[in-house]
């Protein structure tokens, strides 16, 4: 029999549990359970065809990954992908947002144009860029030849040295509009009195941007960067369609490696280990980012 206090407390919280319950059930079924399943699977061998998993192998799948140079290459590529993409995406997005926050002719049109790649189908984008980068009749090499820079023509996606930069370039082109929209919304929400006060105090445009606007935008910049980092670490479709991780693993990232291990090599256990590492990586970065944000003067107030 519950005490009166306990009954009151239950009554007080019942509505909360009732409202949160369905969401928690869905979360548990579609997020917690699959993650747990994946973690448990990463300690097993399984080819993915039989209903029952193979034997428990402990940390063997992780050990195999540690000794697999393709895994390290994929990890490095994922890190390079994020390290190059995020600053470009957020940096360019911020510059464009600053530009479009001013009173420009055709400002709305420009905003729309920059956002178009975001809403375009990724498949369409990758097919277009495959054609752009095609070495013989592709738009880029044709353009280079037309302007007398034929010496710079290159098999962009066919050369391990340029394949990853080419894929990153497409990713930036596709996503910069997304950063732009978030950052533009942030800029428009800034307290105008602070900006005006800086102007009255004689701050020039450069000082205003660097000393006033950028610090105020820090939480939003951090959020945009976080989204870009997570998106970058998870990248699969773009790489898979454009290069399938090749040539010679030069564009292999963790997500494409996961797919290859699971569905081409039938190593479901190893693929799950890659998935666990990927999730751990994403969660760690998110946590670091949150800690940094919390320590900043504007932390968590965005």
């Amino acid at each position: 029999m519950l005490s009166l206090a306990a009954r009151r407390s239950w009554r007080r919280h019942a509505a909360g549990y009732a409202f949160a319950g369905p969401a928690l059930v869905i979360l548990a079924a579609f997020l917690v359970y699959p993650i747990g399943y994946s973690v448990w699977l990463s300690f097993h061998e399984w080819d993915g065809y039989t209903p029952r998993w193979g034997p428990f192998v402990g940390l063997e799948n992780y050990r195999a990954l540690a000794g697999d140079e393709v895994f390290w290459k994929a990890t490095l590529n994922s890190i390079v992908f994020v390290a190059v993409r995020t600053p470009l995406e957020v940096g360019l997005g911020f510059l464009l947002a600053l530009l479009l926050n001013r009173r420009l002719v055709a400002r709305s049109l420009l905003r729309t144009l920059f956002f178009v790649p975001v809403v375009m189908s990724l498949i369409v984008v990758t097919i277009i860029f495959q054609r752009v980068f095609e070495p013989n009749t592709g738009l880029l090499n044709t353009f280079l030849r037309a302007v007398g820079l034929g010496a710079f023509t290159h098999p962009w996606l066919g050369d391990p040295a340029t394949a990853l930069p080419a894929v990153i370039a497409v990713s930036v082109w596709k996503n910069v509009g997304f950063s732009l929209v978030i950052l533009l919304a942030g800029l428009q929400g800034l307290p105008q009195d602070v900006v005006e006060a800086a102007r009255v105090d004689g701050a020039n445009a450069w000082q205003l941007t660097l000393r006033v606007i950028t610090p105020l935008m820090r939480p939003i910049l951090a959020l945009t960067a976080l989204l870009s980092i997570i998106g970058g670490l998870k990248v699969f479709d773009l790489v898979f369609i454009m290069t399938r991780g090749g040539p010679t693993y030069s564009t292999e990232v963790l997500a494409t490696m996961l797919y290859r291990e699971a569905f081409e090599l039938n190593h479901m256990g190893i693929a799950s280990a890659v998935a666990v590492i990927l999730v751990a990586l994403v969660l760690s970065i998110a946590r670091v980012q949150t800690l940094v944000l919390d320590k900043s003067p504007e932390g968590g107030k965005a």
Binding site: N136, R244, F263
Partner: protein
């Protein structure tokens, strides 16, 4: 059903399937002499005849045989495949089957956008012990090994034993390719070849002849390059199979296919001189100036465009691309094909051959007999004539001169009979061990980009092969 009960049920199913496997194994042992005889026939010939001179409105000269089993009530069997352009003809045959033989039976086809997507879907269905799909399209090689080794599909041995004529309808080497651990895993719908398409107009304009030897091909390449025409559009960036074509070609040209198969099964080293020579050939081709620039950055549609616009004089590709190539060509384009020239002095011209899409039955299908009957309708004597007539792909197995005349009535493509003539010289292009296939693909990419030596490539393939250890399957 409780968990314990479910376990018992699955256990019984496994016992049943073991017993069934044993029976089928015995059957297959009994059928071995027949298989040997059939194989010998294939080695001594099997060329398709020329079309007969028959005129007027022709009909399929082969009888569409009635099935042994029919549906007792309205039944739909499901079929998951991965080649969209085959759907229409599969539907056509299924509808004819329904109309003529079994009005209760319908075929529901799901065409996945590609092999990868279909394989993922099939894998999930099989792991979940789903009875759907009833019929599965699989590729020879690693895919066939996977579904066979996991006991997910039903062996054709019994079907063949009951209907030897049906079995004789296939090229024996194709059936051999689809035989894993003594069980015939699936049956082919067509045969595909890899050849060189060429622009006859450009060849004539520059006084070039179809090459018979590698040296002649190199001379043609040099002559074309001097005129500013790229010699061969080769879409090595299309998928994981394309970068291996030159390697398969060389091994076919020196008759080292068997050695490659043994290496694939871990019985011979990949560092054998012949297999390293194959890698050297791939490297030589990449450096020869014969390919359009950056083959690994070229996909099929790009290569077709390069060829169709006259920027390259040749196109190294498969018979399955004939339609897309034709569709891209201007009306006055004179298209020809030739087998890849002999890769060694006095050698034969290697024509890569594969069976492409093959069909099998899900071991958990609720209508396995009906599924087998549907597969027999699609791939049987009548079905294969209709199937290949619609697609312009070569049938898997011999067809008559009258049948070819009937096909040509609607196909009208002069290349079709040429493809038919090429079949018997074919050599297969299949690797069974996934990790080995991956290592070969990556190795060939490294050779094309010049980032590894042939010896280093074959050493890495051998390392991958050794890592797999003893294979749990045998082929043929």
């Amino acid at each position: 059903m409780s968990k314990a009960k479910r376990r018992t049920h699955h256990g019984d199913a496994r016992e049943m399937s073991r017993r069934k496997l044993l029976q089928l194994g015995l059957l297959s042992t009994a059928a071995t002499p027949l298989l040997r005889a059939a194989r010998a026939t294939a080695q001594t010939g099997g060329a398709q005849p020329s079309a007969s001179k028959a005129t007027g409105e022709l009909k399929n000269p082969v009888e569409f045989k009635a099935p042994k089993v029919k549906a007792s009530g309205p039944t739909t069997i499901s079929f998951w495949q991965y080649v969209g352009f085959h759907v229409d003809v599969q539907k056509f045959i299924a509808e004819e089957y329904k109309k003529r033989h079994d009005p209760n039976l319908s075929l529901e086809i799901t065409a996945f956008p590609g092999l990868n997507e279909q394989r993922v879907g099939v894998k999930s269905a099989l792991a979940a012990q789903s009875p759907t799909p009833d019929i599965i399209a699989i590729e020879p090689g690693a895919y066939a090994v996977d579904v066979s080794a996991s006991g997910s599909v039903i062996d054709f041995t019994k079907v063949f034993a009951e209907d030897p004529e049906y079995k004789r309808g296939f090229w024996p080497n194709a059936i051999e390719l689809l035989t894993i651990n003594g069980a015939v895993v699936s049956v082919p719908a067509v045969t595909n070849t890899v050849i060189v398409y060429y622009n006859r107009g450009v060849f004539q304009q520059h006084g070039l002849e179809v090459p018979n030897t590698l040296d002649e091909l190199k001379k043609i390449g040099a002559a074309l390059n001097a005129k500013g025409i790229m010699p061969i559009a080769y879409p090595a960036g299309q998928d994981r199979n394309f970068p291996i074509f030159p390697y398969y070609t060389y091994l076919g040209g020196i008759k080292a296919d068997k050695l490659m198969r043994e290496a694939d099964l871990g019985l011979k080293p990949w560092t054998s001189p012949e297999l390293v020579a194959g890698a050297e050939f791939v490297e030589m081709m990449a450096k020869s100036g014969l390919y359009a620039k950056g083959p690994l950055g070229i996909k099929e549609p790009d290569a077709i465009q390069i060829f169709a616009t006259g920027k390259s004089a040749m196109f190294w590709g498969g018979q399955w691309m004939r339609r897309s190539i034709r569709a891209a060509l201007p009306p006055n384009f004179d298209l020809g094909i030739f087998p890849f020239p002999a890769v060694v002095a006095g050698g034969h011209k290697p024509v890569l051959s594969s069976v492409g899409i093959t069909l099998t039955v899900n071991a958990r299908s609720k209508h396995p007999d009906l599924a087998f009957e549907m597969i027999k309708a699609i791939t049987g004597a009548w079905g294969k004539i209709e199937y290949t007539r619609n697609l312009g792909l070569s049938p898997n197995g011999p067809i008559s001169a009258d049948a070819i005349a009937y096909q040509m009535q609607s196909l009208k493509d002069p290349l079709y009979p040429e493809f038919l003539k090429l079949q018997p010289t074919g050599t297969t292009r299949v690797i069974f061990t996934p990790a080995v296939e991956e290592a070969v693909t990556q190795g060939m990419q490294a050779l094309i980009t010049g980032s590894k030596t042939p010896k280093a490539v074959m050493e890495s393939v051998e390392a991958a092969s050794q890592k797999v250890g003893a294979r749990k399957f045998r082929t043929g």
